[in-house]
Protein backbone atom coordinates (compact mmCIF):
# COMPACT_ATOMS: atom_id res chain seq x y z
CA UNK A 1 0.00 0.00 0.00
CA UNK A 2 1.13 3.57 -0.62
CA UNK A 3 2.91 5.85 1.82
CA UNK A 4 -0.06 8.22 1.68
CA UNK A 5 -2.38 5.39 2.73
CA UNK A 6 -0.17 4.41 5.66
CA UNK A 7 0.25 8.02 6.71
CA UNK A 8 -3.48 8.87 6.53
CA UNK A 9 -4.28 5.69 8.46
CA UNK A 10 -1.94 6.66 11.28
CA UNK A 11 -3.41 10.15 11.53
CA UNK A 12 -6.97 8.83 11.37
CA UNK A 13 -6.40 6.03 13.86
CA UNK A 14 -4.92 8.49 16.36
CA UNK A 15 -7.98 10.73 16.19
CA UNK A 16 -10.43 7.81 16.07
CA UNK A 17 -9.09 6.00 19.12
CA UNK A 18 -8.46 9.13 21.18
CA UNK A 19 -11.84 10.55 20.11
CA UNK A 20 -13.55 7.36 21.23
CA UNK A 21 -11.67 7.38 24.54
CA UNK A 22 -12.60 11.01 25.24
CA UNK A 23 -16.24 10.32 24.32
CA UNK A 24 -16.36 7.78 27.18
CA UNK A 25 -16.60 10.80 29.50
CA UNK A 26 -19.91 11.88 28.01
CA UNK A 27 -22.34 12.10 30.94
CA UNK A 28 -19.62 11.35 33.54
CA UNK A 29 -17.43 14.48 33.78
CA UNK A 30 -17.09 16.26 37.14
CA UNK A 31 -19.09 19.33 36.04
CA UNK A 32 -21.45 20.01 33.15
CA UNK A 33 -19.14 22.49 31.40
CA UNK A 34 -16.30 19.96 31.36
CA UNK A 35 -18.64 17.25 30.15
CA UNK A 36 -19.62 19.42 27.20
CA UNK A 37 -16.02 20.39 26.53
CA UNK A 38 -14.90 16.75 26.47
CA UNK A 39 -17.79 15.75 24.20
CA UNK A 40 -16.97 18.64 21.84
CA UNK A 41 -13.29 17.67 21.74
CA UNK A 42 -14.24 14.08 20.98
CA UNK A 43 -16.57 15.29 18.25
CA UNK A 44 -13.82 17.32 16.58
CA UNK A 45 -11.49 14.32 16.70
CA UNK A 46 -14.09 11.98 15.21
CA UNK A 47 -14.80 14.58 12.51
CA UNK A 48 -11.11 14.70 11.65
CA UNK A 49 -11.13 10.89 11.59
CA UNK A 50 -13.73 10.95 8.83
CA UNK A 51 -11.40 13.15 6.78
CA UNK A 52 -8.23 11.09 7.38
CA UNK A 53 -9.81 7.65 7.06
CA UNK A 54 -11.82 8.95 4.08
CA UNK A 55 -8.52 9.85 2.43
CA UNK A 56 -7.00 6.46 3.36
CA UNK A 57 -10.03 4.65 1.91
CA UNK A 58 -9.86 6.71 -1.28
CA UNK A 59 -6.15 5.93 -1.60
CA UNK A 60 -6.72 2.24 -0.89
CA UNK A 61 -8.93 2.25 -3.96
CA UNK A 62 -11.08 -0.85 -3.48
CA UNK A 63 -14.27 1.06 -2.74
CA UNK A 64 -13.96 0.95 1.05
CA UNK A 65 -15.26 3.83 3.15
CA UNK A 66 -13.97 5.54 6.29
CA UNK A 67 -16.56 3.51 8.22
CA UNK A 68 -15.23 0.23 6.80
CA UNK A 69 -11.75 1.14 8.04
CA UNK A 70 -13.04 2.20 11.46
CA UNK A 71 -15.35 -0.70 12.13
CA UNK A 72 -14.00 -3.69 10.24
CA UNK A 73 -10.30 -3.84 11.09
CA UNK A 74 -8.97 -5.78 14.05
CA UNK A 75 -6.49 -4.62 16.68
CA UNK A 76 -3.28 -5.56 14.82
CA UNK A 77 -4.37 -3.48 11.81
CA UNK A 78 -4.66 -0.26 13.84
CA UNK A 79 -1.85 2.30 13.55
CA UNK A 80 -2.57 4.77 16.37
CA UNK A 81 0.10 5.77 18.87
CA UNK A 82 -0.21 3.86 22.16
CA UNK A 83 -0.83 7.12 24.04
CA UNK A 84 -4.25 7.42 22.37
CA UNK A 85 -5.54 4.04 23.55
CA UNK A 86 -4.54 4.29 27.23
CA UNK A 87 -7.48 4.24 29.66
CA UNK A 88 -8.90 7.57 30.81
CA UNK A 89 -8.03 7.15 34.49
CA UNK A 90 -9.30 10.14 36.46
CA UNK A 91 -10.22 13.50 34.96
CA UNK A 92 -6.70 14.82 35.52
CA UNK A 93 -5.05 11.95 33.68
CA UNK A 94 -7.48 12.35 30.78
CA UNK A 95 -6.58 16.03 30.45
CA UNK A 96 -2.85 15.31 30.82
CA UNK A 97 -3.09 12.70 28.01
CA UNK A 98 -5.02 15.24 25.95
CA UNK A 99 -2.41 17.92 26.52
CA UNK A 100 0.52 15.63 25.66
CA UNK A 101 -1.27 14.64 22.44
CA UNK A 102 -2.62 18.12 21.56
CA UNK A 103 0.80 19.75 21.71
CA UNK A 104 2.18 17.13 19.26
CA UNK A 105 -0.97 17.23 17.14
CA UNK A 106 -0.79 20.99 16.69
CA UNK A 107 2.89 20.90 15.65
CA UNK A 108 2.17 18.06 13.24
CA UNK A 109 -0.84 19.77 11.65
CA UNK A 110 1.00 23.08 11.26
CA UNK A 111 3.77 21.23 9.41
CA UNK A 112 1.20 19.35 7.31
CA UNK A 113 -0.27 22.64 6.10
CA UNK A 114 2.85 22.73 3.91
CA UNK A 115 2.43 19.15 2.65
CA UNK A 116 3.18 18.43 -1.01
CA UNK A 117 -0.14 16.54 -1.16
CA UNK A 118 -3.08 18.93 -1.40
CA UNK A 119 -5.58 16.52 0.13
CA UNK A 120 -3.35 16.38 3.22
CA UNK A 121 -2.79 20.13 3.49
CA UNK A 122 -6.56 20.72 3.06
CA UNK A 123 -7.35 18.49 6.04
CA UNK A 124 -4.56 20.11 8.07
CA UNK A 125 -5.91 23.60 7.27
CA UNK A 126 -9.27 22.54 8.66
CA UNK A 127 -8.07 20.59 11.69
CA UNK A 128 -5.44 23.08 12.85
CA UNK A 129 -8.12 25.55 13.92
CA UNK A 130 -9.91 22.97 16.04
CA UNK A 131 -6.71 21.64 17.59
CA UNK A 132 -5.44 25.13 18.47
CA UNK A 133 -8.57 25.40 20.55
CA UNK A 134 -8.02 21.97 22.14
CA UNK A 135 -4.49 22.74 23.26
CA UNK A 136 -5.58 26.06 24.74
CA UNK A 137 -8.00 24.26 27.02
CA UNK A 138 -5.87 21.21 27.85
CA UNK A 139 -2.86 23.41 28.69
CA UNK A 140 -4.96 25.68 30.93
CA UNK A 141 -6.43 22.67 32.71
CA UNK A 142 -3.06 20.98 33.24
CA UNK A 143 -1.75 24.23 34.73
CA UNK A 144 -4.88 24.79 36.83
CA UNK A 145 -4.82 21.27 38.32
CA UNK A 146 -1.02 20.99 38.56
CA UNK A 147 -0.74 24.28 40.39
CA UNK A 148 -3.97 23.58 42.30
CA UNK A 149 -4.58 21.77 45.58
CA UNK A 150 -2.14 19.28 47.10
CA UNK A 151 -4.44 16.48 45.91
CA UNK A 152 -4.82 17.74 42.33
CA UNK A 153 -1.05 18.40 42.13
CA UNK A 154 -0.28 14.86 43.28
CA UNK A 155 -2.66 13.33 40.77
CA UNK A 156 -1.32 15.41 37.89
CA UNK A 157 2.27 14.45 38.72
CA UNK A 158 1.23 10.77 38.79
CA UNK A 159 -0.54 11.21 35.46
CA UNK A 160 2.53 12.80 33.90
CA UNK A 161 4.82 10.07 35.26
CA UNK A 162 2.48 7.37 33.91
CA UNK A 163 1.92 8.94 30.47
CA UNK A 164 5.28 10.47 29.62
CA UNK A 165 6.89 7.15 28.54
CA UNK A 166 4.26 7.01 25.77
CA UNK A 167 5.28 10.38 24.30
CA UNK A 168 8.49 9.21 22.60
CA UNK A 169 6.63 7.03 20.10
CA UNK A 170 5.15 10.16 18.51
CA UNK A 171 8.65 11.25 17.49
CA UNK A 172 10.18 7.91 16.49
CA UNK A 173 10.22 7.55 12.72
CA UNK A 174 10.10 4.25 10.86
CA UNK A 175 10.32 3.49 7.10
CA UNK A 176 6.84 4.93 6.43
CA UNK A 177 7.68 8.23 8.15
CA UNK A 178 11.00 8.47 6.33
CA UNK A 179 9.31 7.87 2.97
CA UNK A 180 6.61 10.43 3.83
CA UNK A 181 9.22 13.02 4.77
CA UNK A 182 11.26 12.36 1.63
CA UNK A 183 8.15 12.82 -0.53
CA UNK A 184 7.37 16.12 1.22
CA UNK A 185 4.10 14.56 2.36
CA UNK A 186 4.83 15.01 6.07
CA UNK A 187 7.54 16.53 8.25
CA UNK A 188 10.51 14.66 9.66
CA UNK A 189 8.99 13.43 12.94
CA UNK A 190 12.18 13.99 14.89
CA UNK A 191 12.15 17.67 13.90
CA UNK A 192 8.99 18.20 15.96
CA UNK A 193 10.70 17.12 19.18
CA UNK A 194 12.57 20.32 20.03
CA UNK A 195 9.55 22.66 19.79
CA UNK A 196 7.49 20.04 21.65
CA UNK A 197 10.00 19.84 24.48
CA UNK A 198 10.09 23.61 24.70
CA UNK A 199 6.29 23.87 24.96
CA UNK A 200 6.12 21.09 27.54
CA UNK A 201 8.86 22.59 29.68
CA UNK A 202 7.06 25.95 29.79
CA UNK A 203 3.68 24.39 30.63
CA UNK A 204 5.01 22.02 33.29
CA UNK A 205 6.98 24.82 34.93
CA UNK A 206 3.81 26.87 35.19
CA UNK A 207 1.92 23.82 36.41
CA UNK A 208 4.64 23.19 39.07
CA UNK A 209 5.06 19.65 37.70
CA UNK A 210 8.34 17.82 37.05
CA UNK A 211 8.98 16.18 33.70
CA UNK A 212 10.52 12.71 34.12
CA UNK A 213 14.20 12.55 33.21
CA UNK A 214 14.00 9.26 31.36
CA UNK A 215 13.35 9.28 27.61
CA UNK A 216 12.34 5.61 27.64
CA UNK A 217 9.55 5.15 25.10
CA UNK A 218 6.91 2.44 24.78
CA UNK A 219 6.45 1.78 21.06
CA UNK A 220 4.55 -0.44 18.67
CA UNK A 221 1.19 1.25 18.12
CA UNK A 222 2.04 3.33 15.06
CA UNK A 223 3.70 0.38 13.35
CA UNK A 224 1.05 -2.08 14.51
CA UNK A 225 3.71 -4.35 15.98
CA UNK A 226 2.36 -4.37 19.50
CA UNK A 227 -0.68 -2.53 20.91
CA UNK A 228 -1.54 -2.50 24.60
CA UNK A 229 -4.24 -4.82 25.91
CA UNK A 230 -6.54 -1.79 26.08
CA UNK A 231 -7.08 -1.39 22.33
CA UNK A 232 -8.98 -4.65 21.94
CA UNK A 233 -11.39 -3.62 24.68
CA UNK A 234 -12.10 -0.31 22.91
CA UNK A 235 -12.78 -2.15 19.67
CA UNK A 236 -15.22 -4.60 21.22
CA UNK A 237 -17.32 -1.66 22.33
CA UNK A 238 -16.83 0.48 19.22
CA UNK A 239 -17.28 -2.24 16.63
CA UNK A 240 -19.76 -4.69 18.10
CA UNK A 241 -22.78 -3.38 16.19
CA UNK A 242 -21.14 -3.66 12.75
CA UNK A 243 -19.69 -7.04 13.72
CA UNK A 244 -23.00 -8.42 15.01
CA UNK A 245 -25.16 -6.83 12.31
CA UNK A 246 -22.92 -6.35 9.25
CA UNK A 247 -23.95 -3.38 7.12
CA UNK A 248 -26.49 -2.05 9.64
CA UNK A 249 -27.30 1.60 8.85
CA UNK A 250 -29.46 4.34 10.30
Amino acid sequence: MSTLYDFALRMGDNTLILGHRVSEWCGHAPVLEEDIALANTALDLIGQTQLWLGLAAEEEGSGKTADDLAFLRDAWEFRNALLCELPNGDFGRTLMRQYLFDEWHLLMLKALQGSSEKRVSDIADKAVKEVSYHVERSRDTVIGLGDGTAESHKRMQEALDYLYPYVGELFTPDAVDTAAAEAGLAPDLASLRAPYDEALAATMAEATLSLPDSRFAHKGGRTGKMHTEHLGHILTQMQWLQRAYPGAAW
Binding site: I36, A39, L43
Partner: protein, 164 residues
Protein backbone atom coordinates in the same frame (compact mmCIF):
# COMPACT_ATOMS: atom_id res chain seq x y z
CA UNK B 1 -35.08 31.77 -14.99
CA UNK B 2 -32.74 32.20 -17.92
CA UNK B 3 -32.60 30.32 -21.19
CA UNK B 4 -29.28 28.55 -21.62
CA UNK B 5 -28.04 26.90 -24.80
CA UNK B 6 -26.29 23.62 -24.01
CA UNK B 7 -23.53 22.12 -26.19
CA UNK B 8 -25.46 20.43 -28.99
CA UNK B 9 -27.83 23.32 -29.37
CA UNK B 10 -30.65 22.34 -27.03
CA UNK B 11 -32.08 25.30 -25.12
CA UNK B 12 -33.16 24.76 -21.50
CA UNK B 13 -34.49 27.06 -18.84
CA UNK B 14 -32.26 27.25 -15.78
CA UNK B 15 -32.51 29.24 -12.58
CA UNK B 16 -29.81 31.90 -12.41
CA UNK B 17 -27.01 31.51 -9.89
CA UNK B 18 -28.33 34.61 -8.07
CA UNK B 19 -31.74 32.96 -7.84
CA UNK B 20 -30.20 29.82 -6.33
CA UNK B 21 -28.37 31.93 -3.72
CA UNK B 22 -31.68 33.65 -2.91
CA UNK B 23 -33.33 30.25 -2.38
CA UNK B 24 -30.47 29.09 -0.18
CA UNK B 25 -30.83 32.27 1.84
CA UNK B 26 -34.23 30.93 2.86
CA UNK B 27 -32.81 27.67 4.22
CA UNK B 28 -32.22 27.97 7.98
CA UNK B 29 -29.21 26.56 9.78
CA UNK B 30 -30.59 23.41 11.50
CA UNK B 31 -28.99 24.21 14.87
CA UNK B 32 -29.43 28.00 14.89
CA UNK B 33 -32.56 28.47 12.76
CA UNK B 34 -32.50 32.25 13.11
CA UNK B 35 -29.70 32.48 10.52
CA UNK B 36 -29.62 31.06 7.01
CA UNK B 37 -26.98 28.95 5.30
CA UNK B 38 -25.80 31.97 3.33
CA UNK B 39 -25.66 34.07 6.53
CA UNK B 40 -23.39 31.39 7.96
CA UNK B 41 -21.06 31.73 4.97
CA UNK B 42 -20.81 28.01 4.23
CA UNK B 43 -22.09 28.13 0.63
CA UNK B 44 -18.80 28.63 -1.21
CA UNK B 45 -19.85 28.30 -4.82
CA UNK B 46 -22.89 27.76 -7.05
CA UNK B 47 -22.61 27.01 -10.75
CA UNK B 48 -24.20 25.13 -13.58
CA UNK B 49 -22.16 22.36 -15.20
CA UNK B 50 -24.34 21.70 -18.24
CA UNK B 51 -27.69 20.59 -16.87
CA UNK B 52 -26.35 19.83 -13.39
CA UNK B 53 -26.33 22.41 -10.63
CA UNK B 54 -23.20 22.21 -8.49
CA UNK B 55 -23.34 23.64 -4.97
CA UNK B 56 -20.08 23.74 -3.01
CA UNK B 57 -20.42 23.67 0.77
CA UNK B 58 -17.71 23.99 3.41
CA UNK B 59 -18.18 22.45 6.87
CA UNK B 60 -18.05 24.71 9.93
CA UNK B 61 -16.36 22.13 12.19
CA UNK B 62 -15.15 18.81 10.80
CA UNK B 63 -17.29 16.83 13.23
CA UNK B 64 -20.37 19.04 13.26
CA UNK B 65 -23.38 16.68 13.12
CA UNK B 66 -25.40 19.42 11.41
CA UNK B 67 -23.31 19.02 8.24
CA UNK B 68 -25.24 16.06 6.89
CA UNK B 69 -28.56 17.69 7.84
CA UNK B 70 -27.47 20.86 6.01
CA UNK B 71 -26.72 18.87 2.85
CA UNK B 72 -30.12 17.21 3.08
CA UNK B 73 -31.85 20.58 3.62
CA UNK B 74 -30.09 22.10 0.60
CA UNK B 75 -31.14 19.19 -1.54
CA UNK B 76 -34.74 19.30 -0.31
CA UNK B 77 -35.02 23.07 -0.83
CA UNK B 78 -33.59 23.02 -4.34
CA UNK B 79 -35.58 19.99 -5.47
CA UNK B 80 -38.74 21.76 -4.27
CA UNK B 81 -37.77 24.62 -6.62
CA UNK B 82 -37.58 22.24 -9.55
CA UNK B 83 -33.82 21.56 -9.65
CA UNK B 84 -33.55 17.99 -10.89
CA UNK B 85 -29.85 17.39 -11.35
CA UNK B 86 -27.88 18.46 -8.33
CA UNK B 87 -24.36 17.74 -7.07
CA UNK B 88 -23.18 18.79 -3.61
CA UNK B 89 -19.44 19.22 -3.33
CA UNK B 90 -17.42 19.51 -0.13
CA UNK B 91 -14.59 22.02 0.04
CA UNK B 92 -12.26 21.95 3.06
CA UNK B 93 -9.77 24.65 2.12
CA UNK B 94 -9.71 27.53 2.67
CA UNK B 95 -11.33 26.46 5.94
CA UNK B 96 -14.52 28.12 7.13
CA UNK B 97 -13.99 31.16 9.28
CA UNK B 98 -16.45 33.22 11.29
CA UNK B 99 -15.29 36.19 9.15
CA UNK B 100 -17.63 34.76 6.52
CA UNK B 101 -20.71 35.36 8.68
CA UNK B 102 -22.71 38.11 7.00
CA UNK B 103 -23.47 41.39 8.79
CA UNK B 104 -27.15 40.51 8.79
CA UNK B 105 -26.27 37.09 10.20
CA UNK B 106 -24.34 38.70 13.06
CA UNK B 107 -27.24 41.02 13.84
CA UNK B 108 -29.72 38.12 13.80
CA UNK B 109 -27.52 36.10 16.18
CA UNK B 110 -27.35 38.96 18.67
CA UNK B 111 -31.10 39.56 18.52
CA UNK B 112 -31.57 35.81 19.14
CA UNK B 113 -29.42 35.95 22.28
CA UNK B 114 -26.15 34.56 20.87
CA UNK B 115 -23.23 37.00 21.07
CA UNK B 116 -21.57 37.20 17.62
CA UNK B 117 -17.83 36.38 17.25
CA UNK B 118 -15.25 39.07 17.94
CA UNK B 119 -11.61 39.11 16.83
CA UNK B 120 -10.63 39.79 20.46
CA UNK B 121 -11.78 36.27 21.28
CA UNK B 122 -14.69 36.98 23.60
CA UNK B 123 -18.12 38.58 23.36
CA UNK B 124 -18.28 42.37 23.15
CA UNK B 125 -21.38 42.64 25.29
CA UNK B 126 -24.22 40.70 26.88
CA UNK B 127 -26.80 40.08 24.14
CA UNK B 128 -29.61 40.75 26.67
CA UNK B 129 -28.57 43.80 28.69
CA UNK B 130 -25.51 45.03 26.71
CA UNK B 131 -23.32 45.00 29.82
CA UNK B 132 -19.61 44.51 29.20
CA UNK B 133 -19.11 42.92 32.62
CA UNK B 134 -18.75 39.31 31.48
CA UNK B 135 -17.13 36.02 32.46
CA UNK B 136 -16.39 32.84 30.54
CA UNK B 137 -18.00 29.66 31.87
CA UNK B 138 -16.59 27.23 29.30
CA UNK B 139 -14.65 27.34 26.05
CA UNK B 140 -17.25 24.95 24.64
CA UNK B 141 -21.02 25.01 24.36
CA UNK B 142 -24.12 23.23 23.14
CA UNK B 143 -22.82 23.05 19.55
CA UNK B 144 -19.21 22.93 18.26
CA UNK B 145 -19.43 26.58 17.14
CA UNK B 146 -20.34 28.05 20.54
CA UNK B 147 -18.87 28.75 23.99
CA UNK B 148 -20.68 29.52 27.26
CA UNK B 149 -20.42 32.93 28.92
CA UNK B 150 -22.29 34.71 31.69
CA UNK B 151 -23.21 38.33 32.22
CA UNK B 152 -22.17 39.56 35.66
CA UNK B 153 -24.69 42.41 35.50
CA UNK B 154 -27.93 40.61 34.66
CA UNK B 155 -26.49 37.22 35.75
CA UNK B 156 -27.86 35.46 32.67
CA UNK B 157 -25.72 32.83 30.98
CA UNK B 158 -25.54 33.13 27.21
CA UNK B 159 -23.98 31.51 24.16
CA UNK B 160 -21.05 33.11 22.39
CA UNK B 161 -20.35 32.20 18.77
CA UNK B 162 -16.65 31.24 18.84
CA UNK B 163 -14.32 33.20 16.61
CA UNK B 164 -12.32 30.89 14.34
Amino acid sequence: MAATRLPGGRVVTQASVEQVYAWLDEVPDPEIPVISLTDLGIIRHVEWAGETLEVTVTPTYSGCPATSVINLDIETALRARGIEKLTLKRQLSPPWTTDWLTESGRAKLEAYGIAPPQPAGGPQQCPRCQSQHLERLSQFGSTPCKAQWRCKSCLEPFDYFKCI
